[in-house]
Symmetry: C2
Subunit: 228 residues, 2 copies
DNA sequence: TATTAAATTTAGATTAGCCTAAAATAAATT
DNA sequence: AATTTATTTTAGGCTAATCTAAATTTAATA
């Protein structure tokens, strides 16, 4: 039988975080394969570890049908995500790292184990609501308020909104956005779709017009403006 | 034979740091036993690891006669000590942790691997020269300037100076100093020694007088005032 | 529905970092 | 100088987290 895990190791923390994020697109249960892909390890390794996580009641697991988080697992995952995002704010606001640089360093900082440190950092930063990519920061009780955002690719022609998040965090993508002034807070209006490749013309800050591929607009999240 | 180590793991970093500090009192070579004691592991484990560290040219090692650091080992150790002390300054100055709380958290933060982060943190903190305990911070090239300090227990009767460091970092000791206003920057004068137990009377900030045990004064470092 | 393909699990092996017990060496004491 | 004690090393084992190869189960296709 599987050994019981007490204090979650760095490895366990990374599994839980990955499961949490993957549940977004696989709510019924995260597959062994997608977990292996995100963690860059072999599926066989994942199967074994998921068994241990289930024994320690971090996940609910049915053989061949994927894993979901228990309350305990969700709590643990959210604590790590809270730390990750707070450190990202620190790196961005205080140390002036660009938004494509913060993720990698925060991957390390998120594992620092001190609730007191996390809470003081939160205070020092002025209790930020979101990280530099617009992702919401869970509060100290693990409560997370997910803002109502839609992908820019879901906007109707003529719709206006503000860029408020992204669903792709690779440096390449973020640098692309930066270079095209598509940063958080930017006002955008969807002018016209091109059916054949799902690309679109976008007006930026009521001035400049750009043409963006579907690949780009589907990863930009906007907050729609209320209609008058 | 031993396997060669490329990127120093967390464990390796802790070995190198411990060796660096122990070389202060054992300059001829750090013994297996004292290393085992500081790292809270068994001597047999240390012997094995020292062999690996020697293969990777982090230490020079002669069986039964202890280990010393190579230039490579020293460089690596100083990089960790630099990070440790910079984070201590951050915790103390920015997050308002007391000087007895910073060490434990910095033990984790010192292993974050990003030269860019370290250098930006250094800048953010205003290039501090010392940590909250008065220990000097190596610069980005690993250069460390050790200030000329003497233990308070070495001062002659009548000598005056400023508390500028400690050689004992336990929370208990630091809290004791705090409670007695014996913090960094405090002016002290050695009034009189008591031969039978090596304790002494100390004047604090030209006002209050206290009686301190040898155990205490030997761990307080002062910068002597120039005589006029 | 039978077969093939893909995903998942099982079985057995490896590595880093630790352990205990026993053997070897160095240091201290008589 | 011989013996005892302390330190260090060697030898053999264990665990967490990984791997590869083979077996099993589910999903897709003919």
């Amino acid at each position: 039988m599987y050994k019981v895990i007490f204090m979650p190791s760095l490895t366990v923390e990374n599994y839980l975080k990955a499961i949490y994020h993957l549940l977004e697109s696989e709510p019924e249960g995260v597959s062994t394969n997608s977990l292996a892909a995100t963690l860059k390890i072999k599926p066989a390794t994942v199967t074994d570890m998921i068994g241990k996580l289930a024994s320690a009641r971090f996940v609910k697991y049915e053989k061949y049908y994927g894993a979901t988080l228990t309350d305990k697992g969700k709590r643990t995952a959210l604590a790590i995500i809270r730390k990750h995002r707070l450190w990202e704010v620190f790196l961005s606001e205080k140390l002036k790292f660009s938004w494509d640089e913060v993720h990698e360093i925060a991957e390390q900082l998120e594992h620092i184990d001190s609730i007191e440190l996390t809470d003081r950092l939160d205070m020092f930063l002025g209790y930020p609501k979101t990280d530099p990519h617009g992702d919401p920061i869970p509060d100290k009780n693990g409560k997370i308020t997910v803002p109502e955002l839609i992908p820019l690719s879901f906007a109707k022609e003529g719709a206006e909104g503000m860029i408020s998040g992204v669903t792709e965090h690779s440096p390449a993508f973020l640098q692309y956005l930066e270079k095209n002034n598509l940063t958080l807070g930017t006002e955008v209006m969807l002018l016209e779709y091109y059916e054949y490749d799902l690309s679109a013309d976008i007006r930026i800050n009521k001035k400049r017009q750009v043409h963006l591929s579907h690949e780009v607009i589907k990863h930009i999240l906007i907050k729609l403006h209320d209609k008058h």
